[in-house]
Symmetry: C2
Subunit: 246 residues, 2 copies
DNA sequence: AAGTGGTCTAGACCACGCG
DNA sequence: GCGTGGTCTAGACCACTTT
């Protein structure tokens, strides 16, 4: 009898494992499966959705790839703190180390403006037609400014989010928990350049000293929504780190 | 009856999908499944190994993650050109674009020396005890020197490979095809620094102009073997690119 | 129509972690 | 010893691509 259910499963775009995957992801994003806790066992999930372990495991495998959970044999599937950053460039000391005091200050915006021409990537037609939301942040380590960061996104794709609403100062965390939007990938261009007068002033360094400039486009799970960034990093004391595993 | 076979499958460390995965990977590395060709169909592989599609698909899934193949629904599993570079930093234009003429020249070694203290990562005890193989390369784009690259690895882990033996000038390709060693991941530190006299001379630029310095440790599938790198990049005309997807 | 990969069922035994 | 995730069998139907 339950085979009739099976017949229904192969339907157009109604993949059962997607349903399970989306359900669990949303519960993680809204904190109903808190960070550090364990998901219900695979067999329990089978019961909840009337399916088999093969299908449940496929859903969990996807969440594993997305970085929401990790698996511990003999124990269960644990909800992870943050998404595992795969290849994301991070300032040494940012996120993780306790030896550093980290602070982020929003110095401009968010406000609606025209696109800024410094962006190293070509905008889509839809983005060109739209205005954009812009904001600027300065990141501090041990009370010294280390990164000056400009960000833009198309204002027709996402409302202006006030900086007061940033969860723990993080724009991405806000996107995930309040809008269910996730970062799917990114492209970056890195250059070594002399510091301009404005950058030098913001980072408290000499004009012309070597600065790492990063231009980045983040792609998100919301089609058409990209986040563009323009970062100026003083790497003298805190180099940029990037680790990845296959 | 055939269930008795199932009983045997769960054995210690003899995962059937690993056997299949290793077999296919080795055939790809040695060119028996040439780049661009299609693997035998999943059902054929089932026949060859006396197993079911679930197991074969698990093996192919792993090869997919490792970047050796891609899947095309309705057609088959295709052998990929190179391993998909996940988060690897590459000079814009290197590997892929036809607009650039790329050349690599080995300027020093390979030869056996002492470890160089510039390496930003701490060596393992085994590495400290061993001498190391060192070589230096300069990478050109359109006949202009763009990257000066120093490399080291522990000489007790891998014999000295003569630069003449580098397949297409690539050390990693040589490792894969002749030694079945793959890169499993890497850690990198990036800094923006003024060019030293030696770097300036090698890259044909002014002493003191901003240079991107990358210190990298590649981890390989051979336990204990790491490859260390020390790169100086002139990013004025060719920025460094880094893209990744989840 | 035939062949390929994608999804799914309904079981089974194994290795691991913990009380 | 029991529950958890890890591996595997032996089938089935679906969607996509090509002949």
């Amino acid at each position: 009898m339950s085979n009739f259910v099976a017949v229904k499963t192969g339907n157009i775009k109604n993949r059962k494992y997607h349903t399970i995957q989306d359900y669990i992801r949303k519960r993680i994003q809204t904190g109903k499966y808190p960070v550090g806790s364990y998901l219900p066992s695979e067999n329990e999930i089978c019961g909840q959705f009337g399916t088999t372990r093969t299908t449940v495991r496929k859903a969990l495998d996807e969440l594993l790839k997305e970085g929401f959970i990790e698996k511990e044999q003999g124990k269960g599937s644990k909800v992870l703190e943050r998404r595992k950053s795969l290849g994301l460039l991070t300032v040494k000391g940012f996120s993780g180390s306790i030896d550093y005091k980290v602070k982020t200050v929003v110095t401009k915006g968010p406000k609606i403006t025209e696109w800024n021409p410094v962006i190293a990537f070509s905008l889509t037609e839809e983005e060109k037609k739209s205005n954009c939301v812009y904001f600027q942040r300065v990141r501090y380590i041990n009370d010294r400014p280390v990164v000056l960061e400009n960000n833009w996104y198309a204002s027709n794709e996402l409302q202006l989010i006030d900086s007061d609403a940033f969860i723990e100062g993080s724009f991405f965390k806000t996107l995930s928990q309040n809008h269910f939007i996730e970062v799917m990938g990114a492209e970056q261009e890195l250059r070594s350049i002399p510091a301009s007068k404005e950058v030098a002033k913001n980072l408290g360094i000499q004009e012309g000293s070597p600065i790492l400039h990063i231009s980045v486009r983040f792609r998100t799970s919301k089609p058409g929504l990209n986040l563009y960034g323009d970062l100026y990093c003083n790497t003298t004391d805190y180099p940029i780190r990037n680790s990845y595993f296959l």
